[in-house]
C-alpha cells in the first residue's frame, strides 16, 4: 500500500471509531442535561457533532490524512529526551493541578482531545503500522485504562480531601452492610459475562499473530521482549544487563513487597486521598506511571531497528545511524588531568583507574541517607527507626538512579560511572 493513502477498510474503521466517540459524547451530554448543567451539555453535544462529522466523512470515504507539516514537526521534536522530560513534567502538572484537571468537564475535554489526536494520527501509515500490530493493541487498551483509572482515584481523592478538610466523612465512609447474595455475586456474574463477551469479540476481530517459523539464522530487527518487559529493555540503553535485567527488577519486586512494612502512615486506609499520604502516592505514581508505563510506550512504539528512537510518524528505517559517542567517567576524569585511563590502569591497576566512580557510587549510597535523615527526612527517620529508614532510602536511591543516569547521559554523554569490564562490573 502506498504511503499517504487511506484504504477503504481503514476509512471504515475510522468511521466506526468516530461513531463510538460521538456516542460517548452523546451519553455524556444526556447525563449533563439530567444534571441540569446547560453549558456542559452544550459542550458535550458540540463534541458529539465534531466526532459525528468525522464519522460521516470517513464512512463516505472522503476522509483526510493528517497533514505532513504536522507529522514532520512532531517527529522533528520528539526524541528520547523530550519524550521523557515532557512525560515527567506532565506528571508533575497532573499532581499539582489535580483539582482543576480532574474536574469532569476538563477531564472530558482532555480525553476527547486525546481521542481526536489519536484518530488523526491513525491516518498516518507509519503510526498505524506500529499501533495496530495485534500484540500492540493491548498496550493501547492499557493506556486507555490507565488514563481512566488515574483520573477516577485522583478525582475521588480531590473530593475526599475537601470532605476531610471540612470535617465531613469521606465518600467511602458508610456503616451500611449488604448481603453478598445478591449484591456482590450478581455484579461478579455480570462482570464475567461482559469480560467473556469482550474476549470473544476481540478474538474474532483480531487474529493472534503468527510469524514465520522460528529460526536462529535470522534475527528480526528490532528484537523485542514481550511488551510488559519493554520498560526493562529500555533501561538497557542506560544500564548493562546485570543492572537493567537482574538487579533493578529484583529491587522492583522487593521494593513492592516492602511497601506495607515501610509505610508507617496509618491514614488513608480504605479510601482515596492525596493530602493524607502525598509522599507514598508521589513515589508510587512516579514509579508506575512514568518509570513503568511511559517507558513501555517508549520501548514499544518509539524504538525501532537497532533500538534507535523514531518519532511516532517516522518510517522505521533500519539504516538510520545514531552516532553514539558516550564516554566513561574515568575517561573524563583522567583525560581532564592530562593522562589516559589506560596509562593509569597500566601503572596502578583498574581499581585506581575507576576510583572516581567508585567513590561517587559509595557516597551516593552511604552519604545521602544520613544527610537526608538530618534534613528533609528528619521526621521520617524519627518515626521509622534505622532499619525501616535505610530500607526506604536504599529503594529510593535505586529507583532514582535510573532518571539520574538518563540525565547524565543526555547532558554529559556519560556511559559508565564505574567501568570494570575485567569483571563485567559496569554501572
Amino acid at each position: 500500500m502506498a504511503h499517504g493513502s487511506l484504504t477503504s477498510p481503514v476509512q471504515n474503521g475510522l468511521g466506526v471509531y468516530y461513531i463510538l466517540c460521538a456516542l460517548m459524547s452523546v451519553g455524556f451530554g444526556v447525563y449533563q442535561v439530567r444534571q441540569r448543567s446547560r453549558f456542559a451539555a452544550l459542550l458535550a453535544f458540540a463534541w458529539a457533532g465534531l466526532f459525528g462529522f468525522h464519522a460521516a466523512a470517513y464512512l463516505a470515504h472522503q476522509g483526510w490524512v493528517i497533514p505532513h507539516s504536522v507529522t514532520h514537526l512532531v517527529d522533528a521534536y520528539t526524541n528520547a529526551i523530550s519524550y521523557f522530560v515532557v512525560s515527567t513534567v506532565a506528571f508533575a502538572v497532573l499532581l499539582i493541578f489535580r483539582k482543576p484537571l480532574t474536574e469532569p468537564n476538563v477531564a472530558w475535554t482532555l480525553m476527547n482531545l486525546t481521542l481526536l489526536a489519536f484518530g488523526w494520527s491513525l491516518t498516518n501509515y507509519d503510526f498505524r503500522d506500529i499501533v495496530a500490530k495485534p500484540d500492540n493493541v493491548p498496550i493501547v487498551m492499557l493506556l486507555a485504562a490507565v488514563g481512566y483509572f488515574t483520573w477516577l482515584p485522583l478525582r475521588r481523592a480531590v473530593l475526599n480531601d475537601d470532605l476531610i478538610a471540612a470535617g465531613k466523612p469521606v465518600l467511602e465512609k458508610d456503616d451500611e452492610k449488604v448481603l453478598v447474595w445478591p449484591d456482590l455475586v450478581y455484579t461478579e456474574l455480570i462482570a464475567m459475562i461482559i469480560c467473556t463477551a469482550i474476549l470473544v469479540v476481540w478474538g474474532i476481530l483480531l487474529k493472534a499473530p503468527l510469524e514465520a517459523p522460528a529460526t536462529t539464522a535470522r534475527a528480526p530487527n528490532p528484537s523485542k521482549a514481550p511488551w510488559y518487559f519493554l520498560g526493562l529493555q529500555e533501561m538497557l540503553v542506560y544500564y548493562d544487563p546485570w543492572m537493567a535485567g537482574v538487579v533493578l527488577p529484583t529491587f522492583i519486586v522487593i521494593g513492592l513487597m516492602a511497601i506495607p512494612y515501610i509505610d508507617f502512615n496509618q491514614k488513608g486506609n480504605g479510601y482515596y486521598t492525596f493530602k493524607e499520604r502525598p509522599f507514598a502516592l508521589i513515589m508510587f505514581l512516579y514509579g508506575f506511571l512514568v518509570l513503568w508505563v511511559v517507558l513501555i510506550v517508549l520501548g514499544t512504539f518509539l524504538r525501532g531497528p537497532n533500538w534507535n528512537f523514531f518519532g511516532p510518524f517516522e518510517t522505521w528505517d533500519a539504516h538510520k545511524v545514531d552516532p553514539l559517542n558516550n564516554v566513561n567517567l574515568s575517561d573524563m576524569f583522567w583525560l581532564g588531568l592530562g593522562s589516559t585511563p589506560e596509562q593509569i590502569a597500566k601503572a596502578y591497576g583498574w581499581f585506581v583507574r575507576e576510583i572516581p566512580g567508585i567513590i561517587l557510587t559509595v557516597l551516593y549510597f552511604v552519604a545521602i541517607p544520613p544527610l537526608m535523615a538530618k534534613t528533609v527526612f528528619r521526621n521520617f527517620f524519627v518515626k521509622m527507626g534505622f532499619l525501616r529508614y535505610m530500607t526506604l532510602m536504599t529503594l529510593i536511591l535505586f529507583m532514582t538512579s535510573l532518571p539520574l543516569k538518563m540525565v547524565l547521559r543526555w547532558t554529559l554523554n556519560l556511559k559508565y560511572i564505574v567501568y570494570i569490564p575485567e569483571y563485567f562490573f559496569n554501572i
Partner: protein, 257 residues
C-alpha cells in the same frame, strides 16, 4: 405439581442444595455458607466496599481471566505438542483447520488482559491504602502473584515457536546471562572458580538453567511448556487460595479493622 416443583422436591436436587432458593434473608445467608465456591466470600460486606467506582472489579477479573486461561489452556493442550517437529505446525492447524481454533485467540488476548487487570488491581489496592495493617502480608502475596502472572505470560510467549516467540525469549533470557555471580557474563562470576577453572560458564549458568541449553532450543520449549502448563499454574493456584483466604481473615478488602 409443576415440573419445577418436582425437580426441587426431588431427592437428588435436595441432596445437592440443602436449602430453598436464596430469595429471603435467611437463605441468602445460608447459600453463602453451604456452597464451597460462594463461601470464598463473606456473608455480608460494606456497601461502599463493593462499589465499582471503588474496587474497579480488577482483582475479580484477574481471577476470572486466570480461569479462562486455565480452561482454554487445557483445551489447547489437546492440539499442541511441545517439540521442534510439531509446535509450529500445531499452531498453524489451530489457526487454519481446527474447529474452535479461536481458543488460541481467546487464550492470547486473555493473557494480555490478565496482565493489564492485575496491574490495575495493584494500582487500586495501593491508591486506597489497602496494603496497610493488617493486610501487609497479603499485599506481599499479591506481588508474588503479579510476578508469577508475568512469568506465565513470558513462558507462554515461546510456545508458538515462531520468530516473534524465540527472539522475544532470547532477548528476555539474555538478561540471565548477566546475573551477578550466577551468569557467565555477570559481575563476580569469574571469582567462582576452582584453581582457575571457572564454575560458572555458558554451560552451567543461570541462563543455561532457564533454557536447558546454551541458546533457545527444543529443550527450552519443553522446559517452558512444563513451567507454563503445570508448575507456575499450580503455584499460582496455591497462592490465590492464600490470597483470598487472607482477604477474609484480615477483615475484608480494605479499611482499618
Amino acid at each position: 405439581m409443576s415440573v419445577g416443583d418436582w425437580i426441587k422436591n426431588n431427592q437428588v436436587w435436595k441432596s445437592i442444595f440443602r436449602h430453598p432458593a436464596p430469595r429471603d434473608r435467611r437463605n441468602r445467608v445460608v447459600v453463602m455458607l453451604t456452597n464451597v465456591f460462594l463461601h470464598l466470600h463473606p456473608v455480608s460486606v460494606r456497601k461502599s466496599g463493593i462499589a465499582l467506582s471503588y474496587t474497579w472489579c480488577m482483582g475479580g477479573l484477574t481471577f476470572f481471566l486466570f480461569l479462562v486461561e486455565t480452561v482454554t489452556g487445557v483445551l489447547l493442550m489437546f492440539y499442541y505438542r511441545p517439540t521442534l517437529e510439531h509446535a509450529y505446525n500445531d499452531i498453524l492447524s489451530l489457526r487454519d483447520v481446527t474447529t474452535l481454533g479461536i481458543l488460541r485467540e481467546i487464550h492470547r488476548w486473555g493473557a494480555h488482559a490478565m496482565v493489564i487487570a492485575i496491574w490495575l488491581h495493584m494500582y487500586r489496592v495501593f491508591l486506597t491504602g489497602s496494603y496497610k495493617p493488617p493486610r501487609e502480608f497479603n499485599w506481599s502475596v499479591g506481588v508474588i502473584l503479579l510476578v508469577l502472572t508475568l512469568l506465565l505470560s513470558f513462558t507462554g510467549y515461546l510456545l508458538p515457536w515462531d520468530q516473534l516467540a524465540i527472539w522475544a525469549i532470547t532477548v528476555g533470557s539474555n538478561m540471565a546471562r548477566a546475573t551477578p555471580f550466577l551468569g557467565h557474563e555477570g559481575p563476580g562470576a569469574a571469582l567462582l572458580n576452582v584453581g582457575g577453572v571457572p564454575l560458572i560458564h555458558s554451560g552451567s549458568d543461570a541462563r543455561f538453567l532457564l533454557l536447558g541449553g546454551k541458546f533457545v532450543s527444543g529443550e527450552t520449549l519443553l522446559r517452558f511448556y512444563v513451567l507454563h502448563c503445570v508448575a507456575i499454574p499450580l503455584a499460582v493456584a496455591v497462592l490465590i487460595a492464600i490470597h483470598f483466604w487472607r482477604v477474609r481473615k484480615d477483615g475484608g478488602i480494605s479499611g482499618a479493622l
